[in-house]
Symmetry: C2
Subunit: 498 residues, 2 copies
């Protein structure tokens, strides 16, 4: 039986290794690969995915899992081995239901749709994009049919991004949040906050140095991280000692700085996975939502907080003395926290961001449930933008075509952005309870206690438990919107001020 | 039967894909990977190698090859499919003889020896390196024993680097070359050539721009190449549209420029493999020796030639006006072609370079045949350096420990450097016969005809044939030292002059 366990571990190490190599190839593609290499890269990524899938669904895997079921029951449920058997069972049970032919078709159509989306967005032509969207959605319907019918078919898609989370639960949380966001956005609407200094001449090389500086300040082990420029920031790498975050430097604003802090949160989660499980599928973040809780924590709860800027603003002004001439801490802090309904999700402030996510979550359910014809999607989008944010969408490029997710068939992904933000508040508040003087430490630029608390209470679990069980172990509660709503109300219910 | 062929192709595509992914990971490790990632990288490279090896030796591969033998006989022997079956048979027959346990032990010991070599070289301590060398050699002996006994066991090692080349043939060629090199080095020894201007203040950023300029001048398809800095220059990449060469920029000399031209030759070989075979094992260079023929052709026969510098020297002086003040073309050309026996192979001139290789080839045979105790290797090295080049070796770091090859057990590799150089002359002379006014074209900076000739006559064959058959198809002859000796005598038999 211990032999069986060793065999399972060795197979799962292989599976995890193939995934890690794929992550590295994806990083390479988006940062350094010569453009003409994409077609070949697609084939190589497809090969790795197929080998991993074959490895997972081999009959030997099923046999091992069956034989190990009683063994796992006899183990400490918190042991790595018990967690590994649980996770493998879950992955196997899902994978064997999906014909490899469908998996590879989904990957192929996603790859083919990416350039179509780019072109459609560039020309603001939803009509150009519609056939690709239809093919992707059709394949998602076939994917859903591989599983036991659910009252909400959307559950099956969501489960791939946020395991064991149900649509009804997300809807309940989002419905609870929505009126608060609307009220807060309304209250802030007429406030006259000056953030003009955030647009200006911010030389890229100084932004690059500053990105490195803030990552070093937050903290990493030596010689383990890279920061590279990309079009769309993301975090990747090959393992706990090879973390690669990316950011986008625009010479006309300071957005890269916030993107860097966001990606730092993602990177730190993988960086602090315990070494003893790093080569196994349990040795990674528990879900997209929990990952986002980490990135939003560093971006917003540290990176848009007053204590942080009390400490760091002098450094920023030293780096950009002309650009920030006459802008004191109070003006700066108000400027970076300005609430203003706008068209683009990734540029949204903390209050209106949630509305962008909720809108997508609602439209996705309508698409999947057949309540919305895909050709009517732009109208539905524009109507909701008007209703939720009071914003009129001038064209589809800045509307329904702005995100790439649907071009790869990733339906169910968006909600994790807001779920993660909600969880970031629960985690932050528990950290503040446990770590003496957390805000004072942040205000002195001391991040080791926070990093260590996150390592011990969140990162230590890797993917051993479901996301909600991980959250419960970290904070004592599963997902709860109240700390998030309370935080927004505290921060944005009155004029933002020092 | 065509089904079998399709199955074979698909398996071999997978094998080739895994190798290409491994190449990319190796490039990454040597250029951009955070240092702490090496241990994990070793595991990932080991995984890819093991999957490839398992894929190759599966019984299904043997069955397919047996069934396809008569089919292959009925095909045009020049067809891709016939070549693919031939190559697969060769790879399979070698791979099944070696126990996977030995392969993985060889890989592991090589990985463990690399840092030992680094430390031994840094402290110039052969005693520190000796145990690692002994383990590597012991494993090579076990490897040799996996095959039918040969009169010269060294044949078996050589075959991994230069397929179907025999030790006796290499010895015959090198023995033919040796007296000419000795004579030429002797003749040049007392000539007083000034190359002091090659050491100086050559700012790295201008070298970087120049490397890009010369690669663009020689020619590539758009958006397909990268040039990155590394400690030891090499060429890599993931496929014909993703070529990555590296070079080493030293702010105190111009060596990077010649290294770039050298790596361009390697890169161009892979870049010009026909697209229809790029995803198969026949879609790569035929051997290390033929690869070296391409790099040496661009580095020496183009890059150290007078026609090239007639064209390019004005550009170089424009880039480094102070550094080259008062150095006219004649002095520059003489300086970059100065012959001077020296300690280090990779810095050797065209004449003495061969002696460095011959010395290693001779010592390797003595090691493998047990005529030389490994502990006596430094003495044997130093004696030969004195005999062949008149150079006294001051320490092992600049002697027997200078190259990393033996630390990974790569015995048999060195000879391909000189075999390639010899073949570069045969190829160059045939190109000059076929391409009207080749030297004049080079003198006008027009490289398309040369590139196209190489594509059609060398690169087009990929690995469809043995290296010698490839050479015969390109030039009408198998390996022949005479053009090489004649070239060196022409160029270095008299004072090097414009």
């Amino acid at each position: 039986m211990t032999d069986d366990l060793a065999r399972l571990r060795s197979r799962l190490e292989e599976l995890h290794g193939l995934e890690a190599i794929g992550m590295l190839l994806a990083w390479d593609q988006r940062t350094v690969m010569p453009g003409a290499g994409s077609q070949l890269r697609g084939r190589h990524l497809g090969l790795l995915q197929r080998l991993g899938h074959e490895q997972l669904i081999e009959p030997e895997m099923g046999r091992l899992l069956d034989e190990l079921a009683p063994v796992a029951d006899s183990l400490d449920p918190d042991s790595d081995d018990a967690a590994l058997v649980r996770l493998a069972r879950r992955l196997y049970d899902k994978a064997v239901r999906v014909p490899p032919e469908l998996t590879s078709q989904m990957a192929r159509v996603a790859a083919e749709s990416a350039p179509i989306w780019v072109e459609a967005k560039a020309t603001s032509s939803f009509a150009r994009f519609l056939p690709a969207l239809e093919r992707n959605l059709e394949l998602r319907h076939r994917y859903v049919e591989c599983f036991e019918p659910r009252e909400e078919p959307y559950d099956i898609l969501l489960d791939d991004f946020e395991p064991e989370m149900e649509t009804a639960e997300v809807r309940r949380i989002f419905d609870e949040i929505k009126p608060h966001l609307a009220a807060l956005a309304g209250e802030q609407r007429d406030r006259d906050v000056d953030d003009s200094f955030l647009a200006g001449d911010y030389p890229v090389e100084r932004q690059v140095a500053l990105a490195r500086e803030v990552v070093d300040l937050f903290g990493t082990r030596p010689d383990t991280w890279r920061i590279d420029p990309t079009e769309h920031p993301f975090a990747g790498g090959a393992g706990i000692d090879d973390i690669r975050i990316t950011t986008h430097y625009h010479p006309g604003n300071l957005d890269s700085f916030f993107a860097t802090m966001h990606e730092y949160g993602h990177g730190l989660y993988e960086h602090q996975i315990p070494r003893r499980i790093e080569s196994l599928p349990i040795g990674t973040g528990a879900s997209l939502g929990l990952h986002e809780s980490q990135s939003r924590l560093w971006e917003n709860l540290v990176g848009r907080s007053l204590p942080f800027w009390r400490f760091f603003y002098p450094r920023l002004r030293e780096t950009f003395p002309e650009q920030l001439r006459g802008v004191d801490l109070e003006r700066f802090y108000a400027g970076i926290n300005k609430v203003q309904p706008s068209l683009i999700r990734i540029h949204a402030d903390e209050v209106t961001y949630g509305m962008h996510v909720i809108l997508r979550f609602e439209l996705e359910q309508d698409m999947i449930n057949g309540r919305l014809e895909l050709r009517d999607l732009p109208d539905a989008w524009n109507a909701k933008m008007h209703e939720y944010l009071g914003v009129d969408v001038p064209d589809d490029a800045r509307g329904v075509l702005q995100d790439m997710h649907w071009s790869s068939g990733a339906v169910g992904y968006f909600s994790t952005y807001l779920l993660g933000t909600v969880m970031s508040l629960q985690i932050w508040e528990k950290a503040a309870d446990d770590v003496d003087g957390l805000e004072e430490l942040v205000g002195r630029g001391e991040f080791t206690p926070l990093r260590e608390w996150l390592a011990e209470n969140v990162h230590a679990h890797g993917r051993k438990y479901s996301p909600q069980e991980t959250l419960r172990r970290a904070t004592g509660s599963t997902i709860d919107a109240r700390p998030y709503v309370a935080y927004l109300t505290r921060k944005f219910g009155a004029p933002v001020a020092v």
